[in-house]
Symmetry: C4
Subunit: 254 residues, 4 copies
Amino acid sequence: MERTVTMSLTDALNELVTANRILAREGVVDAFGHVSIRHPEAAQRYWVSRARAPDCIELDDLMEFALDGTPIDPAGRNPYAERHIHGAVYEDRPEVHAVVHNHSPSLIPYSITGVPLRPVMHMCASMGTHVPVWDSRSAFGDTNLLVTSMSMGRDLARALGTRPVALMRGHGCVVAGPSLRNVVFNSIYLELNAHLQMQASSLGEVTFLSDGEIAAILQTRSSFTYERAWEYWCRRAGRAYDHRPMGGPLSQAT
Amino acid sequence: MERTVTMSLTDALNELVTANRILAREGVVDAFGHVSIRHPEAAQRYWVSRARAPDCIELDDLMEFALDGTPIDPAGRNPYAERHIHGAVYEDRPEVHAVVHNHSPSLIPYSITGVPLRPVMHMCASMGTHVPVWDSRSAFGDTNLLVTSMSMGRDLARALGTRPVALMRGHGCVVAGPSLRNVVFNSIYLELNAHLQMQASSLGEVTFLSDGEIAAILQTRSSFTYERAWEYWCRRAGRAYDHRPMGGPLSQAT
Amino acid sequence: MERTVTMSLTDALNELVTANRILAREGVVDAFGHVSIRHPEAAQRYWVSRARAPDCIELDDLMEFALDGTPIDPAGRNPYAERHIHGAVYEDRPEVHAVVHNHSPSLIPYSITGVPLRPVMHMCASMGTHVPVWDSRSAFGDTNLLVTSMSMGRDLARALGTRPVALMRGHGCVVAGPSLRNVVFNSIYLELNAHLQMQASSLGEVTFLSDGEIAAILQTRSSFTYERAWEYWCRRAGRAYDHRPMGGPLSQAT
Amino acid sequence: MERTVTMSLTDALNELVTANRILAREGVVDAFGHVSIRHPEAAQRYWVSRARAPDCIELDDLMEFALDGTPIDPAGRNPYAERHIHGAVYEDRPEVHAVVHNHSPSLIPYSITGVPLRPVMHMCASMGTHVPVWDSRSAFGDTNLLVTSMSMGRDLARALGTRPVALMRGHGCVVAGPSLRNVVFNSIYLELNAHLQMQASSLGEVTFLSDGEIAAILQTRSSFTYERAWEYWCRRAGRAYDHRPMGGPLSQAT
């Protein structure tokens, strides 16, 4: 039996603060980028911080939004102009419970060269077999590249489709997944894969993971793998780790 | 309505100390490099530290200069030999209120290879569509490369023209802008762009931001974007962030 | 006379905690990867942590295993699924007293391109003249790449043979040696060599250490070299260094 | 008038401890590498630490040696086996008062590819117009590469000649200069130059500093430049900076 996530809303929001701090500590976000969760008790709403750098975020910064981006209780706080990335994905993907948008540095070269990002090692298989690149210019022409409307958000969500990751040309990426720990894990290992794939490409022809290997990794990865990494990242980010007992048989761990 | 900067001189000088510390913390300067502001109440003067490493600078290190580099009240302090970079830009550009000179590492390769530095992502668009390279050798022959006279400073300012950034061959760059937060922001994202452009170039042919996108980014970037980054950089540099209320409608944020 | 290691089991386990922390501090492991020692008094057993990130490991996390991976006193703790890497090497190599498994980033490109990893500098000679690459796909087809059975562990141990290091395709490496300090030292300098070899390859044709040089280095490297590095890494990892007197003539040091 | 160094021996040895810590903090040495000074009052002797990692060194670790490497008062301490690098240079070069031996990572690729290291920016001009590469194999065949005798040290010193820097194939470098601050400065900027030259080479054809520029930089660089950097590095290394008044006219500073 895997861990059942039955957190209270407060617990969930504390974890969202932790996720922000982890993404900053691990170099996936700088002053920009954001991470959200679907409201655990109201599927038509999501939570994300007010417009603030992830490393600075406190519990009181978290805001609730309708899927179309309308703040429920703004209380004078400034929302992210790009929150529509999150709303559009939640609208389209009922199974998605967490979304990251970031400018993870090593991803940018893949977004602007046509070279596909593909998994080179087992830890990074979560991106799947194909990572699409969404270009805001295709449908919207010359803009400031920001996803500032539901119309743009939905166009991006269409490019993402049912996949976990889409790159955004000259901008960054969106990562969607079933849990907060999943999207943080995937974001951190995307950066690593992008870095290693560049290095390997400079040495010679690269052997990528096979589709069968990617499928095997995704089928056998347990929540326990995310827990091990989460504890480590909490320690590095100076955040308390929530030690809840994990029941059942030994989980698959690397 | 955007935030109106109506700081006292003391506030402005404290921000200048913070700017020095941020540039050091973010790796844009090491023991060398400097940042100045035009005197907020006397357009023919500017403030910059005595000759000291940016990470060590305190309020008492800041010195006032006439645009030709004459110290107003030296009090036994040693000025930067290259302060003329600042004076020459302020002399030529009334709209400029802050200048950075740095040796930001990833910029150097562009200054010595003829490969143009160009924006690869939206955060880095502030450099504009063309970044010129000034070579001290063209007008001054074999020197120690330092801009130690108004004559050299003015030659550099001519190469800069009305642009925000010029590279200096085998040396570094100068960044000029309307505010301290603008030039610090631009300096940090120049380093990132230079790094990413090198990586992308090693992968394949690069799609840069279009001129229309660069224009759209510059037109829609609000002071709020600079505030978000500034708070984050203050936190990393161990400096207090000056939380002044920002009025008006929601600013454009990424 | 070189230092004779006559540690108590408790001392040895404390050193194993330190080894985990060092590998994390030096960037050789992140949340994943593990290091083990053969039981100093029972050659058919080994010690390795429960499934936890190396940087978080405490003395109580260490578990004892039979060589086939059966925990001696699990006490409800979750073992690493990949502990069979360690058991299979100890089973095959009586002279081996410590094993590291890691995903050291710069090694990955060599595991997926066919470019051989070879020593470029004296500190990194411990890898020997040939570093084999084990591919789980050769004998086991499409898997999640994890070494989760003794059958896989033994296949990897065969590829390793009598060598100190084998790479694992798309995964990482295994490092085996006569002592804990040896395998930690070798792991850290493998990462450095991999990084430098990539850089050198991008500059031009590389002169590697000769076989005679590698042999000379391995023959003259004394325990004193490991001590000097260990003290330094303890300091960086915030762990106490065990200053035991080293007797005899001056050891060879670099 | 430039600062006259009239330090007591104790002051000089405290500065030597600081130099060790700085080189470690700036990534020029890891657990290995060493820095020495000629005895300020006895030209036929020099001081260097006992065999210990630079970041761990305390005042009591410093040992005095005759130029042939004989310890004056060993007191049971283990000397560096490679101290002969220092002795041989002091023997050959009366004007040299400080020597660094390090394995600075970015230098290694130049030592094993035949690509010459050359100054790409003004801060790094101290290496001069030609950096020779000494190969221990030329005169001594297959060894462990360590300079463990005066015979090897003198061979290296001959390759160095009157220059400030020589690379050592597959090993590192030696840096010699008139003062401790000079060799530390030169070591740190060698690493930077090596890194930037590799990046620039990957972009296109590189414009190096001209011989005239290198000469101009070396002629105009004042002790004040070293002071500015030293204060900064002391701060980063957690060491007190010795603020002695600097008299005279404004020094040339960058």
